[in-house]
Amino acid sequence: MIYKANIRPAWVVLVMLILFTLAFTLVKISDTKQITVNSQAQQEKPVKVDLTRFKNAEDNEVCLNCHGQSKYIYEKPGSQKTITKRMYSELVMDRDLFYASNHREFKCTDCHSEDYATFPHDNNLRMEAIATCIDCHGGDEKYAQFKFEQIESEFQASVHSEKHSEDFTCWMCHDAHSYKINARNTENLKETITYDNQICLNCHGDFKNYELLTSKLKPNILQKHEWLPNQASHFTHVRCIECHTANKDTLVVAHHVVAKNQAVRKCESCHSKNSILYASLYKYQVSEKLQNKGVILGMLMGGTTSVGPDVSNRLNVISLVIFGFTVLLILIHAGLRIKK
């Protein structure tokens, strides 16, 4: 046959598909389990502190003997006298919170200097550099699914990072001693919203903390949001970050906090089928469904898609014009055929 020199398109497509799939797998390999892992972590109930359960609890007690309560007692050198002093509240560590946190298996001296073993502590120790999230979690494949690098770069682009000195670190919002992963969860969605908003309000609602970072007067949040209809409802059902960050569907918790004049102020940004939150909600809802109903059932049971009538009005008009044109041509052609 004369076709021998030619290659069947099917083979070309097959080879391309294999290459595409290979490339795709390589790109996505570290990226797939993001939300699954988050929700699993959340399901763990807070533990009652049973110190024998934790790897380094015994060692940690050396520190927590003093730092686990609001007073510390020591013997005055050269005398039998014991002295009791108050521990500054920010130096008090809550055992319950720590042993329920993601970092519960750590030893205090994993992050803090071994020199704290001596008392009174050396004055220079206050200058000790404190690790931020990315120092430990950056570039580690084990944590790739949590996207620390993306969080870091979003944070670097945020007003928090730009408008404040380098003292504004992850710690301003996340205390590694008590940090517990808190992804969105439809079962206790309200709790999650409260938890997330509390992080913002810790400074923006509390002047004691706010004044540590700025000499500005603390704005009155209720007054600033007076324009917002159903304010109370919005505050309890929506996270601050939904309007105050550059939303993307790639992070469960957006960290790119934008300046207040860039915050969302239009109702239809959220209250439309084309909501700015839609892509991330869609992704989240589907993964939830897959978890609850299993891969096959969850996928088949409908209810969510990411498409909507106003995805792009212009595209709708263009497609309507093309369709109309096609129908018109067909009608003319058919008409001419019938006439002949």
Partner: protein, 207 residues
């Protein structure tokens, strides 16, 4: 039509079954796809039902496409989808002239159907683009929307999911248009229904 039509067995059973299944699925997918795209309270098909049916039909379409794909790889049917490069433009022009002028002058078709070439040049290009570009795109993007977690997160700063959505809709729309034209062109046969009959009994009637 004044002489008795010649009959040529051109469409084996597997092609006819595949074609029928494919046609049915495409209709279902277009109808449910449109009701999802233009969803409104009170549309003909309920939104959640439309999504379920669309998903299931899409999965069956994937299986049907794999069958078609393997059929074209391993049976002689794939040969019809090879576009000879030499004289490509002039053959396209010839066929285009036939559809726009020759047909009305009752000229003979420039590329009559025989068992070495089932498709005329325009048909061939359309089917190759349809079956090897648009349908794979619609299937891949469809699976990407079914499992958004496997979709690439961002492509040059755009949301990968939105882009997948756009590809899906655009390819789906192109397929719908091709289907309209395809059905109309099928009425250009020995008589307006003869091509439809061919896809049932497997025999092509030539003029």
């Amino acid at each position: 039509m004044n002489h008795h039509p010649e009959k040529l067995y051109l469409y084996p059973v597997w092609i006819r079954i595949w074609h029928m299944v494919n046609a049915l699925l495409c209709l279902i997918l277009i109808i449910t796809g449109l009701s999802i795209q233009f969803s409104n309270p009170g549309t003909v098909v309920k939104f959640s039902a439309a999504v379920s049916v669309h998903n299931i039909a899409g999965i069956i379409l994937t299986i049907s496409y794999i069958a078609f794909f393997l059929g074209n790889l391993f049976t002689p049917n794939g040969v019809y989808y090879i576009i000879p490069v030499k004289g490509f433009i002039s053959r396209m022009k010839k066929q285009f002239r036939y559809y726009t002028i020759g047909l009305f002058k009752k000229e003979d078709a420039p590329f009559p159907v025989n068992d070495e070439s089932k498709f005329n040049p325009l048909q061939q290009v359309t089917y190759v683009v349809l079956m090897y570009i648009f349908v794979p795109v619609v299937i891949f993007s469809g699976w990407g929307l079914l499992y958004p977690e496997i979709t690439i997160n961002s492509v040059f700063g755009y949301s990968g999911l939105d882009l997948t959505d756009l590809f899906h809709i655009a390819a789906g729309f192109a397929i719908s248009i091709i289907m309209c034209v395809h059905i109309y062109f099928c009425t250009i046969g020995n008589n307006p229904v003869s091509n439809f009959k061919s896809m049932i009994n497997g025999y092509h009637e030539s003029h």
